[in-house]
């Protein structure tokens, strides 16, 4: 496929295309993991970040997920890394000009659990983005009241799940116009009586998920914005798996949203939508349950995107060190081939354990680049010997899509954010400063959040598309297809994927050196299609669905 495509756009990247602007933006958040030296599994797994325009003022605000004390038998004085602020999730409002203000208290949102992930979607179709918080323990649903505040609707909506939920995916699986939720649950873990695992050198260490019973996920059907109905069994999705990431998309091109679930050390799921409320796991035959060598990998983060510009959704996921990250290429019918070997992604990820990830167009050249937020899951002997309290630190990575099926590892030259070693977990992507390129927010376990602003400073064109529902929210699941200079660019409106994080739902497409207006073909979440001509470049466009 790549052999026949010319490389149309080759942009030179700035030496440090993403720069850390966290401090000047006023974001002073540090994650607290509650570790007390007992190697409790959840303490090194969180936590995430969400990008959302909660006040609909046109720019992206920031929701950061916090941890808590894990072991009720212990107090704050027992923890090894002390908290640097209140043990609550934080909501930061974007004031413009890259200034953020902590508005958690005035928003009346109290994310108090042991936080893992955050998911964003307008669940009651009032036009305002709501929040679903995945926890180790009871989850929470916070409805946006549209006046700058949120209310806890967990019980009212039947949205709770007391197990270890890592993330949740919002998608309208039955195309009824209401966003449903798929909760990705991990393993059955209890603090009391938790297993103690040991390293090869016989020292206490974190256990692998294989030490525990995997949990089943949960599908919640949205009943017209009033409450959720639990339909997991009815949908045929009761299979248990140690899930960490998930992404929705139309993988087989039938116009209905499917779901891919990345399991940690077990075969992944590809739930194909049967269009009657049921799903069938086709991952084995589709070639995405295990890698090409037949190994079930420790999948953490995941994303779906058209990396090779052939108009369908490919899959990428991050894994344990010595496993390599894996890229599956879609043939357009929902059958995939593990193409990692030819991409350089395998060799360069071999030494790292990846979590948050995402396909994004760093330099607006029309090809999807990649980031992996890295951090080990078992103690690194050298760091432990050096006295590092949480000895799981690794560098993050950035790859540029060369447009020929191969990636180029830019990590070594991409500046400080990719030189320092932290225990990174979450990664959310979005145009935080509304300048037409994608910025990144990373989270670190027992460390600070990082706002990385895109300063690629190239002259490539772009277009931003914001498909809106009748209520005014961004219509998640809308797929856009552009034909530009002989290339097909397919993107979708999504907040899902990555790891424990939620992205900017707007669709931002790099156009390379193209300079004129473009036409867009949209497929709305309910299946309707629409063609819009003459869209000016280098600006965002608000789009509404055609009249029924």
């Amino acid at each position: 496929m790549f052999e026949t495509l010319p490389i149309l756009f080759s942009a030179a990247l700035a030496a440090a295309p993403l720069t850390d602007r966290t401090a000047e933006a006023g974001i002073r958040f540090s994650h607290f993991n509650g570790m007390i030296g007992k190697h409790h599994f959840p303490e090194m797994m969180g936590a995430g970040v969400g990008l959302l325009d909660y006040d609909r003022d046109g720019d992206l605000d920031l929701y950061l997920v916090q941890g808590a004390l894990l072991d009720p038998a212990h107090q704050l004085e027992d923890v090894l890394i002390k908290p640097e602020g209140p043990l609550l999730d934080r909501l930061y409002r974007n004031e413009g000009n890259l200034k953020f203000v902590d508005v958690t208290d005035e928003a009346k949102i109290a994310g108090t659990g042991y936080g893992m992930g955050v998911s964003v979607a307008d669940l009651n179709n009032d036009g305002w983005p709501d929040l679903y918080l995945s926890n180790f323990g009871p989850n929470q649903l916070w409805l946006n009241q549209g006046d700058g505040t949120f209310t806890d609707a967990t019980s009212e909506w039947g949205a709770g799940d007391d197990r270890w939920t890592v993330t949740a995916v919002a998608f309208d699986y039955d195309r009824d116009g209401w966003q449903d939720l798929y909760l990705v649950n991990y393993v059955d873990y209890a603090i009391k009586g938790a297993k103690v695992c040991r390293s090869h050198s016989d020292l206490p260490d974190y256990c692998s998920p294989q030490s525990y019973k995997p949990s089943s996920d949960r599908l919640l059907r949205n009943q017209a914005g009033a409450k959720f109905q639990q339909v997991t069994g009815r949908a045929g999705m009761s299979a248990a798996g140690p899930g960490l990431g998930a992404v929705a998309g139309d993988f087989n091109g039938d116009g209905w949203p499917d779901l891919y679930v990345a399991n940690d050390g077990a075969a992944n799921f590809l739930w194909l939508n049967q269009r009657d409320g049921r799903f069938i796991d086709d991952a084995l035959l589709a070639g995405v349950a295990v890698n090409m060598a037949g190994m079930a990998e420790a999948s953490m983060g995941v994303d779906a995107g058209d990396f090779d510009g052939d108009g369908d959704l490919d899959l990428f996921m991050t894994h344990l060190d010595r496993q390599t990250n894996t890229l599956y290429e879609n043939d357009g019918q929902g059958w995939f081939l593990d193409k990692t070997l030819g991409t350089v992604l395998g060799s360069t990820s071999f030494a790292y354990t990846g979590f948050g990830t995402g396909w994004f167009d760093l330099d607006n050249d029309g090809w999807l680049d990649l980031i992996s937020a890295n951090g080990a899951v078992v103690d690194i002997a050298e760091q432990k010997a050096a006295g590092v309290v949480l000895p799981l630190r690794q560098r993050n990575q950035l790859w540029r899509n060369r447009g020929d099926g191969r990636y180029e590892d830019l990590s070594g030259t991409a500046g400080e954010p990719f030189r320092r070693a932290r225990v990174s977990r979450g990664a959310a992507f979005g145009d935080v400063d509304n300048d037409g390129d994608v910025d990144v927010v990373l989270t670190n376990n027992a460390g600070p959040a990082e706002l990385l602003i895109n300063e690629s400073s190239n002259k490539n064109s772009w277009i931003g598309l914001v498909p809106r529902t009748a209520g005014g929210a961004v219509a998640l699941g809308t797929q856009v297809r552009l034909q530009v200079d002989g290339r097909t660019l397919v993107r979708r409106s999504r907040t899902d994927g990555s790891y424990v994080s939620a992205h900017d739902p707007r669709i931002l497409i790099g156009l390379g050196s193209h300079r004129g207006p473009v036409a867009a073909e949209l497929r709305w979440p309910d299946g309707r299609t629409q063609r819009i001509e003459g869209l000016a470049i280098n600006q965002y466009h608000e789009l509404t669905p055609p009249a029924p």
Binding site: G294, R322, A351, A381
Partner: protein, 513 residues
């Protein structure tokens, strides 16, 4: 004789084992001994190799890589140094650095270390040099040691390149030669599917499993044996113990202990074998060392508790069982033995707590509810009646469960009128089903509990008349209890004829074996 001395003796007797390994085992700390040996002869490549492989096998990769580099300086023509260094580099994530070392090893061996070629090709493929990997794999396909694995790898490479038919051929060839390499069926399924053979793909998936292609890799096998220096001997020792050969088990576990004196598993298993061999003081010393050096290791506390129980020291046993449970609350045996010890010590709240926890861990074991109810009766009999009721609900047709309920409810003043009336009804029903002395006793107690003392007296006497085979102690106990309940006085303990329930017996050495 101390354990250390025993270790020295055991290893001394075992002299003549493989070179290096035996020498290392003659010291109490294998790693220290290897370091000492190397320090004594720093230019001795064999000593470098021993320490390097030991470190590598224990995943101290940075140290191993340094030592392999040193070995290569001592023996520049020897292919094992770059080969094992490359393996260590790859295992530490340094794939790019591993490639030239594999290349060097393969070249130096004149192709004889075929595993180096196979690993080189794999690394090249992951690093994106598919052409070089393919050339090498084609060259290795006929090698008797690695040929099958090479065909499998070649199949994967061809599949990734989109050459489904060629990939299929290689994969089928590899699987025909080594059907146990069942992971490859996934790739074969993909190759068949790509070639349009969906039915064939489904058939391949039906045969898919987790087996990997095996290949001859003697150098890595030799290195890995160093990690077995304790785990290997431990597993062999356990096998010997299970087969009843305590002498061999002790010798093997002693070797495991010498190789890794910090391993709590080795210490516990060696202590168990010493205990079975009757060497209780040695076992005690070992377990004391364990719980002092690794105070959170629950099995250490548990097994130390068992030794106290064998020595008939229930109080110390209970303390140790409770320490074990503090660090691992899921140790069912510790809960059970702690409960029994507490009951023998008449520490009824502790007994009730431990039986309750044991029952929660093994809810399917109904017998635990009997013991829980007895212990609870001593603390607060109304709770015991509730527990007995729970047992009856599980086993509504079981006369033993009903008997327990009747006797506890009838002799518990706090159980309430409804419970006493239920007990009476149950005793009447049971007596209709089987008119035995036990049923008469049930009826007697239940009648007394609701104030029908005349009827109670009649049933009690009928039971006593029939219970001729009862031991004298039990007859006395029955008479004593009868004199209380027939006068409406509360009982001082639940009326259970099975004395074992009231006073669980201690563990014996026979139980442990």
């Amino acid at each position: 004789m101390t354990l250390r001395a025993l270790a020295l003796l055991a290893v001394g007797l075992a002299a003549g084992l493989a070179t290096g390994l035996a020498a290392a085992q003659s010291a109490p700390d294998q790693l220290a001994a290897l370091r000492q040996a190397l320090a004594a002869s720093p230019a001795d490549a064999r000593r470098v190799a021993d320490l390097a492989m030991y470190q590598h096998a224990h995943e101290r990769l940075a140290e191993a890589i340094k030592l392999y580099t040193r070995g290569a300086e001592l023996e520049p023509a020897e292919p094992r140094w770059p080969y094992l260094k490359a393996v260590a580099l790859e295992e530490s994530g340094q794939l790019a650095a591993a490639i030239p070392n594999y290349d060097q090893a393969f070249a130096r061996s004149g192709g004889e270390v075929a595993a180096a070629g196979l690993r080189l090709a794999r690394a090249q493929a992951v690093a994106g040099d598919a052409a070089a990997a393919r050339r090498l794999l084609e060259q290795l396909r006929d090698d008797p040691g690695v040929g099958t694995a090479a065909a499998g790898e070649l199949g994967l490479l061809l599949l990734a390149a989109g050459q489904a038919q060629a990939a299929r051929q290689q994969l089928e060839q590899a699987l025909a030669a080594q059907p146990a390499a069942s992971r490859l069926y996934h790739a074969l399924a993909a190759a068949r599917r790509q070639a349009g053979d969906v039915a064939g793909a489904r058939e391949a998936l039906r045969q898919a499993g987790a087996g990997a292609a095996r290949f001859a890799d003697p150098l890595v096998d030799e290195m890995r044996r160093w990690s077995q220096s304790y785990s290997f001997y431990m597993s062999q020792g356990l096998l010997a113990a299970r087969s009843g050969d305590l002498k061999a088990a002790r010798s093997l576990l002693q070797r495991a202990y010498d190789a890794n004196p910090d391993s709590p598993e080795v210490m516990v298993n060696l202590a168990r074998v010493l205990e079975s061999a009757g060497e209780l003081s040695e076992a005690e010393a070992l377990l004391e060392t364990l719980i002092q050096t690794q105070p959170t290791h629950a099995p250490g506390w548990f097994n130390r508790g068992v030794l106290h129980e064998l020595a008939q020291d229930d109080a110390a046993a209970l303390t140790h069982y409770e320490k074990a449970l503090e660090h691992d609350p899921r140790l069912f045996q510790a809960e059970l033995l702690a409960a029994a010890a507490a009951l023998r010590l008449k520490r009824y709240p502790a007994a009730a707590r431990h039986y309750g926890a044991a029952s929660a861990l093994r809810p399917e074991r109904d017998g635990l509810l009997v013991q829980l109810a007895v212990a609870q009766w001593m603390v607060e009999c109304a709770t015991a009646v509730q527990t007995a009721l729970k047992l009856v609900r599980r086993r509504p047709e079981d006369p033993a469960a009903l008997t327990l309920y009747i006797r506890l409810a009838a002799t518990c003043p706090a159980a309430g009128l409804e419970a006493r009336q239920n007990a009476l009804n149950a005793s009447r029903n049971l007596q209709r089903l089987a008119d035995s002395p036990e049923m008469a006793l049930n009826r007697a107690m239940a009648e007394a509990a609701v104030g029908n003392y005349a009827a109670a007296q009649a049933q009690h006497e009928a039971a006593l008349a029939q219970l001729t085979s009862l031991p004298e102690a039990s007859r006395q106990r029955l008479a004593q209890l009868g004199s209380r309940y027939l006068e409406g006085l509360p009982a001082d303990q639940p009326f259970i004829l099975n004395e074992q329930v009231l006073l669980p017996r201690r563990l014996t050495a026979a139980d442990r074996r």
